[in-house]
């Protein structure tokens, strides 16, 4: 499965130095400490199995949403080698569009109708979120990133930071400060029980949708002609252009794909967290970017894996380590720092060649 979007030019293995062994010993030590901590806490607290399972399910749902957002980061990074700092805002705008679509369908009464009608309306709501995000993403690329193609790497990053602030506060100005509250349609508000574990319908729908979207993305990137062009551009822009690929078009297409996933994630997150406001994309974007780096940025399966892992760690970590849930962000960032220290290019990432690092 060669899904990587990089050129693969591994550097020659370096001679193992003393520092390397010290680092490795440190890693083992940390691992042992964590396992010991989890074991003692587990013995002391004695949570039932159903608690762990429902936490894990929660983590998977969150991880699915993170994965959709992380894919946006990773796709853009794979091609342009830039951190699209404003991607979290693209998600947030999708969430807003989804909210207005939801209001609309509630107003015309489709959400109290038959199951098929509700499902259709929900599809349209997600579609509205995706459309708004795609428009935002494409505009962003055109206005803030395209003029900077070929500039040193920090320049597009600052531009992205500016764009991120601009989008956040424009939404604040246009739509006001008050958070928008998603109301779930009655049909999907509940859940079902498997043994002791309560499974909400929204969780199932969100997870299934994210898996479907990820599969769709995988097929597009691997099987379609445009996907092939994307991989070619990621490999080498100049050569791809010589082969008759319209690089600009491919980059726009990448932004469309990433933003569409982000829009879907925004709407689903709206249903999951029930609120969306102007700055709700920021931390989410940070988390998703963490997930993308965790898996090895630029690498599509890596982003999915990293995101699911991050979701699980966030959901289970605090109770497993016996610390308050306020520390869950510390746990996820610590995991990121540790993984990067011991595997500097992420879990599935390859060793970067000097040009791209």
């Amino acid at each position: 499965m060669t899904v990587t979007t990089y050129s693969s030019t591994p550097l020659p293995r370096r001679r193992k130095s003393a520092a390397h062994w010290v680092l490795r010993a440190l890693g083992v030590l940390i691992l042992v400490l964590v396992i010991w901590r989890v074991y003692t806490v587990g013995m002391a607290e004695n949570y039932p199995a159903s608690f762990w399972i429902s936490q894990a399910l929660n983590g998977l749902v969150l991880g699915g949403v993170y994965a959709l957002v992380a894919l946006g980061y990773t796709l853009v990074y794979g091609i342009l080698l830039m951190i699209n700092f404003a991607h979290g805002e693209v998600v947030m705008i999708g969430g807003f569009a989804g909210f207005f679509a939801l209001q609309f369908f509630t107003a015309i009464g489709w959400l109290e109708g038959s199951a098929a009608l509700v499902a259709f309306a929900l599809l349209l709501i997600v579609g509205a979120g995706m459309l708004a995000s795609v428009l935002t993403g494409v505009t962003l690329e055109r206005v803030a990133y395209r003029p900077l193609r070929g500039a040193p790497r920090l320049v597009p990053l600052i531009s992205a930071i500016g764009a991120s602030l601009f989008l956040q506060y424009s939404v604040l100005l246009i739509f006001g400060v008050s958070p928008r509250v998603y109301q779930k349609p009655a049909l999907i508000a509940g859940g079902f029980r498997v043994g002791d574990v309560f499974v909400p319908y929204t969780g199932v729908i969100i997870f299934a949708t994210s898996l479907l979207l990820m599969l769709a993305l995988y097929l597009i990137v691997q099987r379609s002609k445009l996907g092939k062009a994307m991989r070619a551009v990621a490999e080498d822009k100049g050569t791809a252009a010589l082969m008759g690929i319209d690089v600009n078009q491919v980059i726009v297409f990448t932004f469309i794909l990433g933003s569409a996933l982000a829009g879907a994630a925004g709407v689903m997150l709206g249903f999951h967290n029930t609120i969306v406001k102007f700055n709700s994309g920021f931390i989410l974007g940070l988390k998703a970017f963490t997930a993308a780096v965790l898996g090895g940025i630029g690498n599509i399966p890596g982003a999915m894996m990293g995101a699911l892992l991050l979701g699980l760690i966030e959901a289970i970590g605090p109770s497993a380590l016996g610390i308050p849930t306020e520390y869950k962000d510390i746990i996820s960032f610590s995991v990121l720092v540790l993984i990067l220290i011991f595997r500097p290019s992420g879990l599935l990432g390859e060793v970067l060649s000097e040009k791209k690092a």
Partner: protein
């Protein structure tokens, strides 16, 4: 040809319509008041001018023929005007029918729409759309389209003419800061009523322009005696500033110069050594919190308990401000090394995200370790610095301390830049592997960059804590890192005067813009993007950086070429002018 210019006009018109819609949605017309439509039309005329002139080089502008310009301009204005007027009429119609749009668009209220028609808000609610309103708005924008085309023609005729050279113009930028300083002092005199209620803000702005233009003056002065004399005068002028400004202006300038210190520290890490650090706020926070523990031990439960168990007094500062300086700096430096060791192997964006994570971890610890840091309630009543028994905690003294601190840090950075270590940093920034091959010890060089950068941030953090008196974890959010990074980049990476300019632009200007508080961040963000597109090397680029970014590009009119003033001033015609005259 005709269809092409019509198409061009329609495209420009569509973009302008998007921008106008945005301005209406964010509620700008309400702010402007009755004259909203004429003001918007003037703004749009400028936009039409920029987009109609197209291209960036002087030749492009000269090549524009009048007829297609007017076709395109008129079409653009007409199209944008018709669309905007229709949109306004649509919103107004809904409002007149009693539909409340505010739950969706916060700013679409009768006041906003009424401002666009130039009528009272009550008229909208009772009578609906004023007669001829649509036509009036469309005509306004069409006129601005034609004005835009005219402006291009005017620019063209100005550019085609050659001007006589006036040697004494060279002195204008050199004298400017001192004229401005005199203006600032005059504004502060009792009895001056210039500017009315905005006098304080105008004075603040003038102060910042004084400092900024002074830096440009130093660069414009001829090296040697002239530069030294102007440097001395400029130094005296700045040293006088704290004594003439009032409390508010001093406090703003204090925070600006604290950010100069932070920026200079980050400039070492990012600008000199090329290590993209997004968690720089961590060292700033370490500096502030360490000083807070030393100067206000009573507000931290854990420190109080420790002192009690040791039998030491805990309800007074442990050490004075001056004694605390080495302690905070060492603490921040250790933090820098501790961050540096694990990230030695990381490059580029991985480094960015790990440092970002580190910064967040520090903030979350501050927030949640309530025993030590008192959590979100913060550390309170931090002692101000005392010198010979005099309280140095008022905004004026803080500004003086910030000036001295920034001066010392700038001197250190300047000396480092030219040192062996500075050259090693630059070599490392350009290519790590080659630097290593030529004998640069990467581990030592990187750790020194992190440690020295952290030292400066720690110093700034301590002063910040003394200035704020009470510090809370939210003072040290990711936005401080982003601000610091932006100011380094806006000023020009690796450029020391650039940091001062960047801090003035990024921390000072928003304070001046307080009056338009709501639009502050949006304006700032848009400027940041625009700046990256138009002048990515920063306002005061270091020579090296400027050459990197414009390696073989021809000088671009209005972007990189010397300004009209500079052109007039130089005795020798520059290459651009020669090319332009041919």
């Amino acid at each position: 040809m005709l269809t092409r210019s019509i198409q061009r006009g329609l495209r420009i018109g569509a973009i302008s319509f998007g921008i106008l819609t945005y301005l209406i949605l964010v509620g700008l017309p309400t702010r402007i008041g009755d004259a909203a439509m004429p003001v918007l039309a003037v703004a749009m005329a400028l936009l039409f001018w920029i987009s109609l002139r197209g291209g960036v080089s002087k030749q492009d502008v000269s090549a524009r023929a009048p007829a297609p310009l007017f076709t395109a301009g008129t079409m653009a204005g007409l199209f944008a005007g018709a669309l905007t007027a229709t949109l306004i009429a649509f919103f107004t119609g809904l409002l007149a029918d009693g539909v409340r749009l505010q739950p969706i668009f916060d700013k679409i209220v009768p006041q906003n729409m009424a401002a666009l028609y130039g009528v009272m808000p009550g008229v909208i609610a009772t009578e609906g759309i004023p007669a001829l309103g649509w036509l009036r708005q469309t005509l306004f924008l069409t006129a601005s389209g034609i004005v835009g085309a005219l402006l291009v023609l005017i620019e063209r005729s100005i550019r085609q003419r050659s001007f006589p050279r006036i040697p004494w113009l060279r002195w204008v930028p050199l004298i400017l800061p001192f004229v401005l300083l005199a203006f600032v002092i005059w504004l502060g005199m009792p009895g001056v009523t210039f500017g009315g209620n905005n006098r304080g803000t105008i004075r603040l702005l003038a102060t910042m322009v004084t400092i900024g233009s002074g830096i440009f003056a130093l660069r414009a002065a001829r090296p040697g005696a002239e530069q030294r004399v102007f440097g001395l005068l400029f130094f005296l002028a700045i040293a006088y500033l704290p004594f003439t400004l009032d409390q508010f202006q001093n406090s703003v300038m204090g925070i600006v110069f604290i950010f100069v210190m932070i920026g200079l520290g980050l400039n070492i890490v990012v600008g000199f050594a090329g290590l993209l650090d997004l968690g720089y706020v961590a060292f700033f926070a370490i500096g502030a919190y360490v000083y807070a523990f030393l100067a206000a031990p009573f507000s931290s439960p854990w420190v109080t308990a420790q002192l009690q168990s040791l039998g030491l007094p805990y309800n007074q500062p442990l050490v004075s401000y001056w004694m605390a300086i080495p302690i905070t700096m060492v603490a921040a430096g250790i933090g820098g090394v501790l961050l540096g060791i694990p990230v030695l192997r990381l490059r580029g964006d991985y480094l960015a995200i790990v440092t970002l994570g580190f910064g967040e971890i520090i903030r979350l610890f501050m927030l949640n370790l309530s025993d030590l840091t008192n959590g979100p309630r913060g550390l309170l009543n931090i002692a101000p610095p005392y010198l010979f028994g005099i309280n140095f905690g008022s905004p004026r003294e803080i500004f003086i301390l910030a000036l001295i601190g920034a001066g010392i840090v700038a001197f250190a950075a300047y000396r480092l830049d030219g040192s062996r270590l500075g050259r090693a940093w630059i070599a490392m920034r350009e290519d790590e592997d080659v630097a290593q091959a030529t004998g640069v010890n990467l581990v030592r060089t990187k750790l020194l960059a992190f440690a020295i950068g952290a030292l400066f941030a720690g110093l700034a953090g301590q002063l910040y804590a003394a200035r704020q008196v009470n510090i809370f974890p939210e003072n040290f959010s990711l936005f401080v890192s982003i601000d610091a990074l932006s100011l380094v980049i806006v000023g020009g990476m690796g450029s020391i005067p650039g940091v001062v300019i960047g801090a003035l632009a990024l921390k000072g200007l928003p304070e001046v813009l307080r009056g338009v508080d709501e639009y502050r961040i949006v304006t700032f963000a848009a400027l940041l993007v625009l700046m990256m597109i138009v002048r990515p090397e920063g306002l005061v680029p270091s020579t090296r950086r400027r050459r990197e970014l414009h390696e073989d590009a021809e000088p671009i009119a209005g972007v990189d070429a010397p300004s009209a003033l500079e052109q007039l001033a130089t005795a020798e015609p520059t290459a651009t002018q020669k090319a332009g005259r041919q």
